[in-house]
Subunit: 392 residues, 2 copies
């Protein structure tokens, strides 16, 4: 059970997903909160993303309503009206300004929201708000996720504690280029909007922008942070800012790891580390190419230390390096030295690493000082099963 | 049974692949032939690619030795020596200059070739050369391919016929950026090296550079064309050049289609057509993003007309367009008009299209006149099975 001063949450089953599971959630701050958001860079942007992008500019917000089962994307003017209506219903029942309500949706693209069911459910949702209800929101926004993703930090500044509580949903269509599917963070710290935006952007770059499940950037990627100041701790500068920055980084990184660990069909969590590149940008090219390669990811699933596929992916990444100089490690086992295989003993030890549920791959290009890290997962039979059947 | 004047072929089982299947092939021209080649753009290049890249500069060649089961890639100096030794053995037994022998390898990356077995098999290989043996080479270079890929055209010029006979192997690690895994073409036309190179480059761009199976560019991609002039037809210019150019384009396009159709685990052959883009380059970005999307390809496998995933892939491609203007078709069924769904009737007809083994997806961005086409396949359970178990 996670709580954060001045925030309440609730979830109900509105009949958007099948089978009566909770699919509509609400996060509410009892006082106006500072807000910041980062959103998908996909040209195709869901209606709630378009709405929130405008509304966060105000710098404050009170509530986030989120549904799973339908992304409200590629739904034209009707979709935008529906998103605004969702926010409007919440505002009416809470007695607050509709412009202070943000909206998020996740699920199938291209279908209209069942607005009658949503309108009918908002009253119950508002009535159900409790300080202990935030966990329920994390569960309500799950689609093919197998567990709810929550993370909390409670640092202290000058003897007073504040809370940073985050939740996320992931699973598929994950190669964030700005944010992942949906992530909401609430905090009772006091912070100015421009400071919050800066901290959030840095933390997102260091966490969600470094994970991939299938290389597909979603149309609904959204991170929203609400900070309502109820802890009495101001974190605009000094030790407060340091503590808040550290807590937000840790919460987002923890959630990002959970998202990859729960990637559709995933059985392995793999950290792809690149070092010795000509620049950090070239290191990122290599790390992304390796982390997104279907051949590399199916080999992870097969627990096969198939280093040739990793070098081949690096080779097509666009980065400049000499293949005859490259070293490659699984955890601390060196399997490739100066571009060639280290032999059967190293192979045996590397294969043992691949049998672990979490491990790292390090590619040392020995061409410079650039580094990058990307978290990825394997590519399993269940990924194909889940995505072949998704709409049916 | 395919033949081409002045060419012979042979294949033997040298024990490189498991289970006694043919794995070593030889193509031989009884007279020096004009040669041209295009090779992988991957920074990691197999030893035979490095060797051939140098040797084709001479403009003539006599033979190609090819093995499956081992890519001779990431094998350092030993690999380069092994490739040269393979060519040397062939040259010795044929009594020709070693520099006139080209080498190609396909299979697992990072292992040394079993040179004793190869050296022991070359004598039988040379002794087995027959004009009817070219089909055997196409079979010997198969890895996870399920059928041999051959294509032939026999145009006439001024009453005299000549032959363009091509063979290819594909299956996985296919997203050519210059050529696909291996493709050899023999012709009895007479042509100058520089003309052959030009024709080959254009034909490759129009065929193998427009297919994808899994987005992974191979380290061994090689296309080699040998033209020995034995038909007596010169195709350096005029109607001869036109006929040769057309025949080579058709042969490469036919082989490229066969490669995608036989993609690892593939059950669907899908033509992704993009029109109305701001430029041909932007159309290509969209076509490649759609054709390589794991989510789009698993939906093809599930026979699901999941147009939202197609628009989402287009949206992250980097191309500029207005999502609210886009039309989308499966064959001639329009499922999306101006960015939104055309309703249940269109959905039913689109789903029927998805149940066919071959179909097209057309994305009309309505932003300009740029077009592109890419051939792809679906992403099936068998792709994962094949690639999880590949080295074991």
């Amino acid at each position: 059970m996670h709580t954060c001063k001045g925030f309440a949450g609730a979830a109900v089953a509105a009949g958007i997903k099948k089978a009566g599971r909770p699919d509509l959630g609400l996060i509410y701050s009892r006082v106006p909160a500072t807000v910041a958001g980062v959103f998908t860079t996909n040209k195709v942007q869901a209606a709630p993303v378009q709405l929130d992008r405008q509304r966060v500019k105000a710098g404050t917000a009170r509530a986030i309503i989120v549904n799973a089962g339908n992304a409200n994307c590629c739904t034209g003017k009707q979709g935008l009206e529906d998103a605004a209506t969702m926010a409007g219903c919440v505002a009416r029942d809470l007695g607050i300004d509709p412009a202070q309500v943000l909206v998020a949706s996740t699920g199938v693209i291209g279908q209209f929201l069942p607005m009658d069911r949503i309108k009918g459910a908002v009253c119950d949702l508002v009535r159900g708000l409790t300080p202990e209800g935030l966990d329920d929101v994390a569960r309500a926004m799950m689609t093919t996720d197998t567990f709810a993703k929550l993370s909390v930090r409670q640092p202290g500044v000058n003897g007073t504690a504040f809370t940073v509580l985050g939740m996320a949903k992931g699973a598929g269509m994950i190669r964030p280029d700005m944010a992942t599917m949906l992530c909401f963070v609430v905090s009772d710290a006091a912070i100015a909007p421009e400071v919050l935006h800066q901290v959030l952007t840095r933390a997102t770059d260091a966490s969600f922008n470094r994970i991939t499940i299938d290389g597909d950037t979603s149309t609904n990627d959204t991170i929203l942070v609400l900070a309502n100041g109820r802890s009495g701790v101001n974190v605009d500068a000094g030790p407060g800012l340091e503590a808040f920055d550290k807590a937000l980084h840790e919460v987002l990184m923890d959630l990002a790891r959970q998202v990859v660990k729960d990637g559709e069909g995933a059985t392995k969590l793999v950290e792809v580390k690149v070092r010795g590149a000509g620049s950090d940008a070239e290191a990122t090219l290599v790390a992304q190419a390796v982390a997104n390669s279907s051949l590399v990811k199916t080999a992870f699933f097969g627990q096969d230390a198939n280093w040739g596929r990793i070098l081949a992916a690096a080779g097509r990444s666009g980065a400049d390096f000499d293949p005859a100089a490259v070293d490659l490690f699984f955890n601390d086992v060196r399997l490739v030295e100066a571009g060639t295989w280290c032999g059967p003993d190293a192979e045996t030890r590397a294969t043992a690493v691949l049998h672990q549920p979490e491990f790292s791959v390090t590619v040392d290009l020995r061409a410079g000082t650039g580094t990058a890290e990307v978290l990825t997962c394997d590519f399993s039979l269940d990924y194909v099963k889940i995505n072949a059947d998704y709409r049916s």
